[in-house]
């Protein structure tokens, strides 16, 4: 019944490798925007979490109704709702 831990570790390493690949791509100057081309990035609407309260509400609902958690931030949840 217990999942082999090695599979989980392999997947974790794959995830990190992907992240590092993205970083090195950026280092080569293939991607990115010059400082004066950051006008769109400066907008509130382009932030990754524009409405933290709404995100927290949604995550609370999904955390208490679904088995999965985490991803965007920590799992856990600090409530007894699961």
């Amino acid at each position: 019944m217990k999942r082999p831990e090695s599979t989980m570790r392999q997947r974790a390493l794959a995830g990190l490798a992907l992240a590092l690949a993205a970083t090195s791509l950026a280092g080569c100057g293939v991607v990115g925007a010059k400082p004066w081309d950051r006008d769109l990035m400066a907008r509130r609407s382009m932030q990754l979490n524009t409405h933290p309260n709404l995100t927290a509400f949604d995550e609370h609902i999904y955390f208490s109704k679904e088995a999965s958690s985490g991803g965007r931030s920590f799992d856990g949840g600090g409530c007894g709702c699961n």
Partner: protein, 465 residues
């Protein structure tokens, strides 16, 4: 060119300058040429994210209602962020939440009525209470002298405990500060208290900007300590449901880690990839949840056992999020893959599109799809005469299902830094746990207890000096 008339040069220059700003404004989306008295309105998109030196308050309330008279929740939240002038931030959030309604108790439906006997929440109480919604009765059991709460589920219906009621109050805070040109650290903590549950956590994180701030690496860790003290004590897993008071309080510890990369891909596209890992150990069973043990031939419930879940759970997920600004709209697309040591695997995909309507209003339709597999120990019921598994739960959260959310957000700019926002969402889980091979009368009943819910969230945020 010879310009000799008095004022000729300045007149020509004036015309040329006007032309220049018209030409430049033609391709710079939000430039209003100063020399042209244009009536172009300010854009709802021109709201910038930087709150440096300001305090931002953000308060909101969630109204959540499940169909079929199940859970109803109200959750107000107030948060404040103080931004220093050197990039330091201090944030505090207070959230309360109140839940009432009926929640599935875990027993399978049956073609006849089912009566459940559970310990009274307050031991020793002898008052007999009958409420219209709850339908529970306090009784003193003959012989034992125990006070029990009893409720009956009508034939063919999903057994729910209508006496569910809880309040929670939570506080969390964090502060962060730059420690070098491109490095920022943060620490934070959270505490939350319910009638039968307490949770406290501490976290710390670091972010590092690279490549002219085009890349941000982040790493954060969280440790959470929980204590569960059910109203009538903690039942021993897989023992029979009874009116007797149960065992002592239980604890749980969760360690989690999130590592992420945020990358500006180009002027229009921001992407984020993060990996999270969590390890929970301790009591993770739902103390109020039971399973039916059914007759192998007829499917009729014989007894009810308290559920049982492993004391250890590791989870990991990979989350990929994108924000794309094209023209006046912003598209957000994200995906998540998740798996845990309980055997649950899931995928999540979300998309939303922010569309400005006027200079002060935008709408943002959104959709989410979620699909999960069942935990290894998920059972809709247990069959009498078969060996008891070590773990079993009929919680539909651990079963196989899909879920869809459709929502619509409205945002209204108010004043210079304020926004009033509303989000309405419809959430529906789809699944079917019944099977034609189920014993006897259970074959015609769907044991899936998934949720259909509607949420309305309303909030207002503004910054001040």
């Amino acid at each position: 060119m010879q310009l000799t008339k008095p004022g000729a040069i300045s007149l020509a220059l004036h015309a040329l300058t006007a032309n220049l700003f018209v030409a430049v404004a033609a391709d710079a989306q939000d430039t209003r040429p100063p020399s042209v008295e244009s009536a172009e309105a300010p854009s709802v998109n021109s709201d910038l994210a930087n709150d440096q030196g300001l305090t931002r308050l953000d308060s909101a309330i969630l109204f959540y209602q499940e169909a079929g008279g199940r859970i109803r929740a109200t959750e107000p939240v107030v948060s404040g962020v103080l931004n220093g002038t050197a990039g330091e931030t201090l944030s505090v959030r207070i959230v309360a939440d109140s839940l009432t309604g009926a929640t599935p108790n875990g027993a399978a439906p049956w073609t006849g009525p089912q009566t459940f006997t559970t310990p009274a929440n307050k031991p020793g109480s002898t008052t007999t209470v009958t409420t219209a919604s709850g339908g529970s009765t306090l009784v003193t059991l003959p012989g034992s002298g125990l006070t029990a709460r009893q409720y009956t589920t009508p034939a063919g219906q999903l057994p729910v405990d209508a006496g569910f009621r809880d309040e929670r109050i939570g506080v969390d805070g964090a502060c962060s500060t730059p420690i070098a040109e491109n490095t920022r650290v943060s620490v934070g903590g959270a505490y939350s208290a319910e009638r039968d549950y307490r949770s406290g956590s501490l976290n710390a994180g670091i972010t590092q900007d690279l490549n002219q701030k085009n890349t941000t690496l982040s790493l954060s860790a969280n440790v959470e300590f929980d204590r569960s003290f059910p109203y009538f004590g903690t039942p021993t897993p897989l023992t029979e449901m009874s009116a007797a008071q149960k065992g002592p309080a239980q604890t749980k510890t969760v360690y989690s880690l999130v590592a992420g990369v945020t990358q500006v891909m180009n002027r229009h596209w921001l992407t984020q990839l993060s990996y999270s890992y969590g390890d929970s150990s301790g009591y993770q069973t739902d103390p109020y949840r039971i399973l039916s043990v059914v007759d192998p031939t007829t499917g009729a419930p014989l007894t009810y056992l308290y559920e049982s879940r492993p004391r250890s759970r590791t989870r990991q997920s990979l989350y990929w999020s994108n924000k794309i600004a094209l023209g006046p709209t912003v598209t957000e697309i994200s995906a998540r893959g998740y798996e845990d040591s309980w055997g649950v695997k899931s995928i999540t995909a979300e998309i939303s599109e922010r569309v400005p309507i006027t200079s002060w209003l935008y709408v943002e339709p959104q959709a989410r799809y979620y699909s999960q597999s069942a935990a290894d120990f998920f059972r809709s019921y247990l069959i009498s005469g078969q060996a008891l598994p070590a773990y079993a739960s009929s919680d539909s959260r651990l079963g196989k299902f899909d879920a869809e959310t459709y929502g619509l957000k409205l945002g209204m700019k108010v004043g210079g830094s304020g926004e009033f926002y509303v989000l309405g969402e419809d959430y529906q889980q789809n699944g079917r746990n019944g099977s034609s091979t189920a014993p006897g009368g259970l074959a015609i009943l769907n044991t899936f207890t998934g949720v259909k819910a509607t949420s309305i969230m309303v909030g207002y945020t503004f910054a001040f000096y």
